[in-house]
């Protein structure tokens, strides 16, 4: 019967149900679930010790006054937070960080998606070679990548000589010491990760969907806009958020390409620790960065849900 073919397949594993932890196990009952749940325990310990505890420590540290030379007061107070939220300097640093991260994320996703799509749809062995190349590039330390970029875009570097010779630019393109340069550096840092992420997203979409749309008369652009992108949107959104989070915390690109002229929060945190030796203020700035990242992520998830809900209503 054709209906048998369309019937949903039973899940391979039973869904996790932690109720079993509260009752006695019976032979053959819930065995798989228990094993899977136990496997989560090491991750949970690592999560609690390395993430929750360390976050708790620095947030607690932010609630004290700096007394100079790394010493902090014992009283709990919110003076650092008051200063951060009432001083336009800190808010501007936050704005610069969000701005360059958002620009880099958009640029990275726009560049990464076509590459990921082409590799995912390639039927030749080149696909694996290209993918291996991208994976290998992500192993190269960011310092080397950034120095490469700086050499490439030096006034007498290859890019500028080529652009000048072709008459595309009248003066050498300067990346150093500009927000634009930092955006390019962040894109270089995250591009490989983005391609890998989007590759796995595109892989999950059956090629037959696009072929069916084309068979029904849609051109390539329409297929991309009406079939591919809507299906990839959750993956693109999650990938975009991951890239944004990476950019928000990125230090090396901003430090080396920004040349001390682009004051992102990670750079300010480093200076507050290394130059001013104000641990509480640095912890406050780190907390600000953390809360900003969480806020942007929650806002994005909220907007995605609203978009999805809106689409369902329209449907």
């Amino acid at each position: 019967m054709p209906t048998d073919i369309a019937a949903p397949r039973a899940p391979r594993f039973k869904p996790l149900n932690f109720a079993f932890l509260r009752r006695k196990a019976t032979p053959g009952d819930e065995g798989d679930s228990r094993v899977w749940a136990l496997m989560l325990v090491p991750s949970l310990i690592v999560f609690v010790v390395l993430l929750v505890a360390s976050l708790g420590l620095f947030i607690e540290g932010s609630l004290h006054r700096d007394l100079g030379y790394g010493r902090t007061g014992t009283e709990w107070e919110i003076s650092n937070y008051l200063r951060v939220f009432t001083d336009s300097f800190y808010l501007k640093c936050l704005w610069i960080t969000v701005k360059v991260s958002a620009m880099a994320t958009i640029g990275t996703m726009l560049l990464a998606f076509p590459v990921a799509y082409v590799i995912a749809r390639l039927r030749s062995r080149w696909a694996m070679l290209l993918l291996a190349g991208i994976v290998a590039s992500t192993f190269i330390t960011i310092v080397i990548k950034v120095f490469g970029l700086m050499i490439l875009f030096a006034s007498n570097g290859f890019m500028n000589r080529t652009l000048l010779a072709l008459g595309i630019v009248g003066e050498p393109v300067v990346l150093l010491g500009s927000e634009g340069g930092v955006v390019v550096g962040l894109m270089q840092f995250t591009l490989g990760f983005a391609v890998l992420l989007l590759y796995s997203v595109v892989q999950t979409i059956p090629r037959s969907y696009e072929e069916a749309a084309q068979a029904l008369g849609a051109n390539r652009l329409r297929v991309a806009r009406r079939v591919l992108l809507p299906l990839c949107l959750p993956g693109i959104s999650v990938g975009g958020l991951m890239i944004f989070n990476m950019c928000m915390g990125a230090f090396t690109s901003a430090a080396l390409i920004g040349g001390g002229k682009v004051m992102t929060l990670p750079i300010l945190i480093q200076r507050t620790i290394m130059m001013e030796v104000k641990y509480s203020m640095a912890a406050t700035l780190a907390a600000l960065l953390l809360f900003a990242v969480i806020a942007v992520n929650l806002l994005s998830i909220f907007l995605m849900r609203r978009m999805r809900a809106g689409r369902k209503v329209i449907a």
């Binding site: 790394g70 006034s155 040349g259 004051m263």
Partner: protein, 357 residues
């Protein structure tokens, strides 16, 4: 009797031999078997010269030198973060930090009786907790050919770098860098301010329209080579290294005011309290101010030695004589920032705000 006399003579000879050996310079040298002396210093050439010149000598005494690199500001932060467990035994300290060290309790007193090379230092260079190690001459390094192409005269002051023809072609040290505080202070002075009032310096820096603020001196060399910059505020050592790389650069000691030309930045060494290797650290200090090492170090690093014998010999070199101010009257004219009047976190804050504005 003869046997008694013979024994006495033999014993006397043995005692004499032991006494002679004990008094000889060879046995006077201490052994540092198994000692690893950790030295906090700058990276790059600074570290390399020490490694090349001093590591073999220390190894010959059974020890090993280990270098913890970073700017002195960064190393001071490491010292604080270590909370009483010294991460290194000896540290290179900037004049800008002497006030910080005076307020804290990180250093051991220096035993000058074990530093014979200290006799070639001036008295002010031998302080209770700090011994002078070098001085740099912070100035302007510029590409002579590019200046000619642009039709500009050689710069004589920091303000000359604000020429519209140099927009985006100048680098100055970041406050984070080794020369950052000296550069910032010097520009404040040159613009009419002082240690307590750096606002004029902030305005001057804003007017420069710099390409970037350099964090490590080798960025100066690379940026001259890549053609990204035409001039930089840096110490003459970096100018010298750029010159050695084949770039047509010259050093200028900027006029600060009617009485002052050039800026001096002094380096010091200190032994960190709590070190288990105090004797080895003192040995290191003595070697550092040795005339031969000072000369080698100064020639390669482009710094001014503190050992008077080395200064004399360095002045005989035509390249150094041209790039540096080595005559006593010239050195006396240089600006020495009084860091006891400086609130460094306040300077850093003002710098950061300038960058964001």
């Amino acid at each position: 009797m003869p046997s008694i006399l013979g024994n006495f003579l033999r014993l006397s000879a043995a005692a004499f031999a032991v006494a002679t050996l004990a008094a000889s310079p060879l046995s006077a040298q201490q052994r540092f078997d198994g000692v690893t002396l950790r030295v906090a210093t700058f990276g790059g050439v600074w570290r390399d010269i020490m490694d090349k010149e001093l590591s073999p000598k220390f190894a010959a005494l059974g020890g090993k030198l280990e270098f913890i690199t970073g700017s002195p500001q960064v190393n001071f932060a490491k010292l604080i973060a270590a909370r009483g467990r010294p991460p290194f035994d000896v540290m290179e300290i900037l004049d800008a930090q002497t006030g910080d060290f005076a307020k804290t309790d990180f250093l051991l007193p220096i035993d000058y009786s074990k530093i014979p090379n200290g006799q070639y230092l001036s008295d002010f260079q031998k302080q209770k907790m700090l011994i002078a190690s070098w001085a740099t001459q912070e100035g302007i390094c510029y590409n002579v050919d590019k200046y000619k192409e642009l039709g500009l005269p050689a710069p004589t002051t920091y303000k000359d770098l604000a020429n519209p023809a140099l927009v985006g072609k100048v680098m100055i040290p970041d406050i984070n860098s080794g020369g950052g505080l000296a550069g910032f202070g010097a520009m404040a002075y040159a613009a009419g301010g002082d240690e307590k009032n750096v606002a004029p310096g902030v305005e001057l820096i804003k007017s420069l329209k710099t390409l970037k603020f350099w964090a490590q001196g080798d960025q100066v060399v690379l940026s001259f080579q890549s053609g990204d910059i035409v001039a930089a505020v840096a110490h003459t050592g970096w100018c010298l290294r750029t010159f050695k790389q084949g770039q047509p650069v010259a050093a200028v000691h900027p006029t600060i005011n009617a009485k002052t030309t050039g800026v001096s930045k002094d380096g010091w060494l200190g032994v960190i309290k709590g070190t288990p290797n105090e004797a080895a650290a003192t040995w290191f200090l003595n070697q550092y101010v040795d005339a031969d090492y000072q000369l080698t170090f100064s020639i390669v690093g482009g710094v001014v030695p503190v050992n008077t014998k080395a200064i004399q010999r360095m002045g005989e070199d035509p390249v150094f004589a041209k790039m540096m101010q080595l005559k006593p009257e010239q050195m006396a004219q240089q600006l020495h920032i009084d860091y006891t009047k400086v609130n460094i976190p306040e300077w850093v804050d003002q710098w950061n705000r300038m960058v964001v504005k």
